[in-house]
Symmetry: C2
Subunit: 344 residues, 2 copies
Amino acid sequence: MSREDRFLKACRREEVDMTPVWLMRQAGRYMQEYRDLREKYSFLEMCKIPEVALEVTMQPVNRIGIDAAILFSDILIPVEAMGIDLEFTEGRGPVINNPVRDERTYKTLRPIEPADVGFVTDAIKLLRHELKGKVPLIGFSGAPFTLASYMVEGGHSRNFLTIKGMMYQAPGLYDSLMNLIADVVVTYLKAQIDAGAQVVQIFDSWVGCLGPDDYEAFAMPYTKKITDALKGSGVPVIHFANGASTYLDKVAAAGGDVIGVDWRVDLDRAWDAIGPDKAIQGNLDPVALMAGQDEIDKRVRSIVKKAGGRNGHIFNLGHGVLPPTPVENVKYLVDLVHEVSLRR
Amino acid sequence: MSREDRFLKACRREEVDMTPVWLMRQAGRYMQEYRDLREKYSFLEMCKIPEVALEVTMQPVNRIGIDAAILFSDILIPVEAMGIDLEFTEGRGPVINNPVRDERTYKTLRPIEPADVGFVTDAIKLLRHELKGKVPLIGFSGAPFTLASYMVEGGHSRNFLTIKGMMYQAPGLYDSLMNLIADVVVTYLKAQIDAGAQVVQIFDSWVGCLGPDDYEAFAMPYTKKITDALKGSGVPVIHFANGASTYLDKVAAAGGDVIGVDWRVDLDRAWDAIGPDKAIQGNLDPVALMAGQDEIDKRVRSIVKKAGGRNGHIFNLGHGVLPPTPVENVKYLVDLVHEVSLRR
């Protein structure tokens, strides 16, 4: 079975020869090749120059042997196209210079056209040509709540006071903003699919700050708008809601063919909560990759065992690869997942 | 029914007239009285001068009408008595100048004697005298994993790389450190109980960085050592493991008469996971206190409804009161919990 088939079939819960594996943030600072390139370009340049995004995307494909490539980009790219003044600062992460906290700033935002993100679709086209069907290409976007939280908070947040304040005190403005973002994400992901993305992932990185009732009222409907709009695209949707493992039934109800889960939950319990009609992606603690290979071995076997040979498990970390991770452990992990999951 | 009886009976799942309520970090920066005192004393001085700790502890009792007082202190106090060089810095939080990362530093640590924390037991004695049975007094400590993570990481951490590294690479050292801390916490909490604490809470603030299997192997046994040692003390133990709502069955198995839960889980589902033989404490999102009173009303009623009139619910936030919280909303919350839970 080709690696392209393996991953795409697993997304559709069809039988595969072994469990496919890719890793969130598989292109990143833990690789020397990445750090070398990063010395020449700013982070945003790496996202915006298609040839550079291509090179970074291919680094783990060539070096690690993973079963899917994921476009090198940032979840905030579509937000910038909406009129957000975005900077990436060393140490502080993304900073938004015009946070959206009132009707007036909201009104300066605009929907996007595929042409606004031409560098993304160009990179996808280059990548499909370069990959030649070796492994499938995943496109992605942030989910509405996560994008809104950056736009409203102005960057990373600890307690999400400002975005929650908007939910409570200005529900009309919140709803308008979330609907606008959902529409932007639909345009953005459809453009990626039209350019050749074979799977798309929606990252809801910060939604775990919401309790289950707030998730249902303030995040789920907008994510569902996106997954509904992508039905019939023929492309599987992976939906990862980080920190939301206490209400995976609601995350699943927001849509997606594959539900990504973080490492704070047992994979088998998670799958029970999600239901048997969806595939699952996860869920090794990224810090485990800093351990010795015997520890990695134990943990990988445990996760594969919890998947229990059911169709529809995609192995991944429960969050992105961390910068101090040894490359040889990532390589070891990928080979090990294949070895222990091989259907004989 | 007296407020003292209300809280203590709820801890034991006995019938009460209305749901008792107190709030984690109920003494703190959101109160003007606290900020005034804080201008005169450093944070550590406020913990260490019994008369000042008394005054701060009493502020919410006098102003808000809560059903329990909790000793004003910090979870790291027993760690300092072990030989840790602790500072509280503005903005960065606690900083440990001699982080424990090897056998050599571990060997410089010592068990504690009740006399090492005499300022804590003195404050408790003063408080019991001052409270005159008006409301019960809660003592507390950090849980072993949370204290160890501060000691090993050297302060707050994002990914807990160093403590997890110790688990994986130096399990013997990790086990020795955790056992030493568990013994220290037993001595510390027994000293508080001997001085007059009527309930004790164990805070496992950072344990949510662990997946369920790691929790069971690397945190649960040491917390259980403490709850086992406190059995027979006659004092109810509240056990709060923040961010661990995906494996509350294991948290409950680590012990405690009352299990505290954060706001990321439905209270009724949480109670199902914990089991009917334990009381439950929680779980309003602290940020909801920034909302208008109609929103607070809706959320409080929802939580009280989920408790379903069962004996053994103590109302609390799912985490500590945040500094920008309006005092009038805290007062409103407490009165509202009483009103909507009144057994008629």
